[in-house]
């Protein structure tokens, strides 16, 4: 359970996250949508203790993220930022192996290796496992980072735009993977998405943010409606039901 209580974040006079409260119960795939600058990434960073809030608290399984030991949290919650990159020259397998650090503190066991191989398989990364990160395409690198986060094997997984740079097949593959993680392994996944239709088709709940506040919150059937989406994005969005899926169109 992740509880966000009155979280506010300001940069100078600009309030990026404005008194947000949000409960994320265990299990389920929560999509965070909203226009650029709505505060989605900032909220995710605060929830994962990467950024301190100016006011409010975030509790993960009842533990305040600002005061709880970082390594305790790292076994409960994993985070992937949208512009993830690393300074050192690593192979894909090296990077994914770091996902086991919170559990083994660098002394990797046979079990850790198995986790790594499984994550590499899941994300179609075996063919590149021994390539260096700087020799990969953006999409391959993105998958390597997601593999690292999944390897961390935490109950809560926060992903900031994991579909960045992914082609259609890998984007769908990624969503299917996240779906499986919630349905079969009981994980809680909070994911920032830009594509409202991906959010509509794959998530259990959509939280729409606008101007630093939660504007709408509910299951896709409630949020993927023309009046809601038009309000959130300041753009006319029509919603159609196609093959049982709610699809928003806004292209022209």
């Amino acid at each position: 359970m992740i509880e966000v209580r009155g979280v506010t974040k300001r940069y100078g006079a600009t309030t990026v996250v404005d008194d947000v409260s949000l409960d994320v119960p265990d299990g389920g795939l929560v999509a965070l949508i909203g226009p650029n600058g709505a505060g989605k990434s900032t909220l995710l960073s605060i929830m994962s203790r990467l950024l301190p809030a100016d006011a409010g608290t975030v509790l993960v399984d009842g533990m305040d993220v600002t005061t709880t030991r970082s390594d305790v949290l790292a076994r409960r919650l994993a985070i992937l930022r949208q512009d993830a990159h690393v300074g050192s020259r690593l192979t894909v397998r090296d990077l994914v192996t770091f996902g086991r650090y919170p559990h083994s503190k660098g002394r990797y066991t046979v079990e850790d290796r198995a986790h790594v191989e499984r994550a590499l398989d899941f994300l179609d990364l075996q063919p590149f496992a021994d390539r260096f990160l700087d020799e990969l395409s953006g999409g391959q690198r993105q998958r390597a980072f997601v593999a690292m986060v999944l390897c961390q094997d935490t109950d809560h997984v926060l992903l900031d735009e994991p579909l960045n740079n992914l082609d259609l097949r890998h984007a769908v593959g990624m969503m299917r993977l996240l779906r499986r993680a919630t349905d079969e392994l009981g994980k809680t996944v909070v994911v920032v998405l830009h594509d409202i239709n991906v959010a509509s088709c794959w998530s259990d709940r959509i939280v729409a943010m606008k101007d630093g506040r939660v504007a709408h919150d509910g299951p896709p059937a409630e949020v993927v409606r023309p009046e809601v989406l038009s309000d959130v994005y300041d753009l006319d969005v029509a919603v159609h039901e196609l093959d049982g899926q709610l699809i928003g169109t806004y292209y022209r």
Binding site: A74, R89, L90, R93, G99, Y101, Q126
Partner: protein, 335 residues
């Protein structure tokens, strides 16, 4: 499907093995080269009594090894926390601090009075001043909520420039004879190393290296950057602060012993990364220390026997190091 996986694993594994076998081999070769260089250093061109030559040269050799290790480890640690491979701890302004302290001492007390001061006290005072200033600076700039490492580096650069200008000004208005004394003290020199000071430095450097080795896995994670490291459960700010304090101790101790040799660190750390082909600190830390020791010892042998003591080791290192560094940069860009 499983056959397919096995085949893929089969092709992937040898590559992984090759990659993992290499640092061990490289480390062994480096160690062997260091032994050869040390033997050459102790024996080549020795005339007269062995009982005099060996202890005399052994002290010098130990000095080279201690300073080499300190500079190499400090640079690797610094590059890890800054996630930048072309920075050196001299950015923190510690060699500028050393220069200023020496200049002020010579200026105020005069060279003759300075020479009469107890060496151990001078040395310890110097180390305490340098580490103390560094710790205050780090704590101030890095302790608060929003402080960043980049701010710390910027302040270090500005402070270094300020300290150097202050030294420069004092040196300009100094008595020329005193200035000659000062210049002598400021050049890195391995020729007159005091046994007691060497012992203290060795202890400090050993403590710093032991810390780095103990934290080698944390260092691997720190190299990923702040966000990744935090996400993986490393308390980033505290961990970086600890590393910076150790860097300050290593640099201060080696600088107070022989004077500033900072370019060496930049060079040997990069050579170590290339030679070992990995960024894992369990390989890079000993590797860089060995490369550094090898450069200093071999450089000293070349200096003493091929160049007939005509120049200082610092000059040889900067020449060889500069060329090698350019080669590394160009090769890195071409890759």
């Amino acid at each position: 499907m499983s056959a397919d996986l096995a085949a893929r694993a089969g092709t992937a594994l040898p590559a992984a093995d090759r990659r993992r076998a290499r640092p061990g081999l490289a480390l062994t070769v480096l160690a062997a080269l260091v032994v050869v260089a040390a033997a050459a250093f102790l024996t080549v061109g020795a005339t007269g009594s062995w009982s005099f030559v060996l202890p005399f040269r052994a002290t010098k050799l130990a000095g080279l090894a201690v300073v080499g290790t300190a500079v190499a480890v400090a640079t690797v640690l610094f590059q890890t926390v800054t996630a930048n491979r072309i920075l050196t701890p001299s950015l923190l302004g510690m060699d500028a601090m050393f220069t200023l302290v020496q200049t002020v001492l010579v200026f105020v007390l005069g060279g003759a009075a300075l020479a009469a001061l107890p060496a151990t006290g001078m040395f310890l005072g110097q180390v305490v001043v340098m580490v103390g200033c560094a710790v205050v600076l780090f704590g101030w700039l890095f302790g608060g909520q929003r402080r960043s490492l980049h701010l710390l580096l910027l302040v270090g650069v500005v402070l270094g420039t300020l300290l150097r200008s202050a030294s420069g000004m004092l040196q300009r208005i100094m008595d020329p004879n005193e200035f000659a004394v000062l210049t002598n003290r400021l050049f890195a020199s391995f020729n007159a190393i005091d046994d007691t000071l060497l012992g203290i430095t060795a202890a400090l450097v050993a403590a710093g290296c032991a810390f780095a080795w103990h934290r080698r896995h944390v260092l691997d994670v720190l190299a990923l950057g702040r966000e990744c490291a935090t996400g993986l459960g490393v308390p980033y700010r505290r961990a970086v602060l600890e590393v910076l304090v150790v860097v300050a101790v290593l640099v201060s101790a080696s600088t107070a012993l022989v004077g500033p040799v900072t370019f060496l660190g930049l060079l040997v750390a990069n050579v170590a990364y290339v030679v070992l082909g990995t960024h894992q600190h369990r390989w890079v830390l000993p590797g860089a220390a060995l490369v550094s020791t090898l450069f200093l010892v071999a450089g000293q042998v070349v200096l003493e026997h091929a160049l007939g003591f005509d120049t200082s080791l610092g000059v040889v290192i900067e020449l060889v190091g500069g060329v090698l560094f350019l080669v590394l940069l160009v090769r890195g860009a071409a890759r």
